[in-house]
Symmetry: C2
Subunit: 233 residues, 2 copies
DNA sequence: CGCGCGGTTGATCAACCTCAACCCGCGTGG
DNA sequence: CCACGCGGGTTGAGGTTGATCAACCGCGCG
């Protein structure tokens, strides 16, 4: 899937230097949960690199429908997909530390700061791949499959994976808007997964896999035998 | 929306030079309609820049469901979203000319060929934006809205826009797989649009807008008054 | 205590899918 | 020449999935 996570290690070093006549990388900033980094349509004067925490990127249609186009965490680049104006809104869903980069530095960045540019290129390629995966998920899968895919990728990202347990850092409504579903549907499917013994919700925002392979099968597009008769292959 | 079109002007010049010890850009290749440039899972030994024509990028799920994640034309970069193996299949939907770039050149490309790298960066950012727009379309819109959005963006791309008339270079099934619908649904909605006097299909692959503003309203998420002129069928 | 927020659950409904028939233009072969 | 099949598209009937609307729960908080 789907979620534009990924880590960049030496950005701090690379990004903190100043090159030529271009504006320097600004110092890191702190953003609190539920604060916005920027809104769709704002003038895009800078891009950001996430250093820690989670943000969601979303668009709002005129009729009020919203679509989350990605969650991003450490290493992700924000705001580079547009030009002139941000094409997404960006809201912190946890406390977040970000490093702003003046937009003016992006022109010719490959010449002026090849190390940073290489990182950005790699990262944005990853985000494109993630967006495409998400397209496949949203466009071609059922509600059940979407949720399975989502849980698996969230778990992979929250690598603090002691004993198949992981955080769901977002609300039901966020999941729904990410997956192109209604929050009621997400809720229903979650409890259904639990009822079938595939997962255990230790709290609203904390989950454990009991039958990871069933979810994997679902996510791959296979039929998940609801029953006990799971042919193990 | 949605479709990763976009033009790069001086790539030919930038790409045809050889830099340092890295492999040179290979010469342009011709690909015929319906041929594949590569398949999902193939070893990714090179990326491509489209010089002319149209390709579709798609993924196939185990259950046979397919999702077209993008159409690409002149200027688009293909294959950069993955690493090691292609994550999409790529098929020419018209005759196509492409310029391959050895994958090995991508590492450190910013240092070795900053001009090309800058172009790639800009282009890939555009593709990311397009993918995100498509996410919003697929995830948050109804079949009717999806189709309206799609027609408008296709028309914009086929700039040969004399008198609101344009080509639909792909089959109904391709549209469906792009929009996350069934081809029957696409077909039905197309004829419905026609019946309502919004468009006129001069042939299966050629379309004219009669009431562009209605489609625009639909695509923006507004309710399309079925209008006064809905009579007699 | 009352309220609001986030989540769950239930009943109902419609959008879209599924399956099937059918149309049409075209190329092929008898 | 016609019969035939095939690919792509359209149309129809009926079924499912997921949306909609509404009630309700649990909790934190002023």
């Amino acid at each position: 899937m789907c979620i534009a996570g990924g880590r960049i290690h030496d950005l701090q070093g690379a990004g903190s230097k100043t090159f030529g006549a271009t504006a320097p990388t600004l110092s890191a900033q702190h953003v609190s949960t539920h604060d916005h980094l920027f809104f769709e349509g704002d003038a895009r004067d800078r891009i950001y690199i996430v250093e820690s925490g989670w943000v969601k990127l979303y668009r709002t249609l005129i009729d009020g429908q919203r679509q989350i186009v990605g969650f991003a965490n450490s290493g992700s680049i924000l705001g580079i997909e547009s030009d002139g104006h941000y094409s997404n809104s960006c809201e912190a869903i946890t406390d977040v530390i970000i490093r702003p980069i003046p937009a003016i530095r992006i022109n010719g960045i490959c010449k002026n700061d090849p190390a940073l540019a290489d990182q950005i290129l790699r990262q944005i390629a990853r985000q494109l791949g993630a967006a495409q995966s998400q397209l496949a998920t949203i466009g071609a899968q059922s509600a059940e499959q979407k949720l399975a895919t989502f849980l698996l990728s969230i778990a992979d990202l929250c690598e603090v994976n002691h004993d198949r347990e992981f955080d769901l850092p977002m609300r039901r409504g966020d999941m729904a808007e990410f997956l192109g579903l209604r929050l009621e549907t997400v809720s229903r499917k979650m409890t259904e997964f639990q009822r079938r013994g595939w997962i255990k919700l230790t709290s609203l925002y904390h989950c454990r896999f009991l039958q990871r392979h069933v979810l994997e099968q679902l996510a791959q597009g296979g039929e998940a035998d609801t029953g006990v008769a799971l042919r193990a292959c």
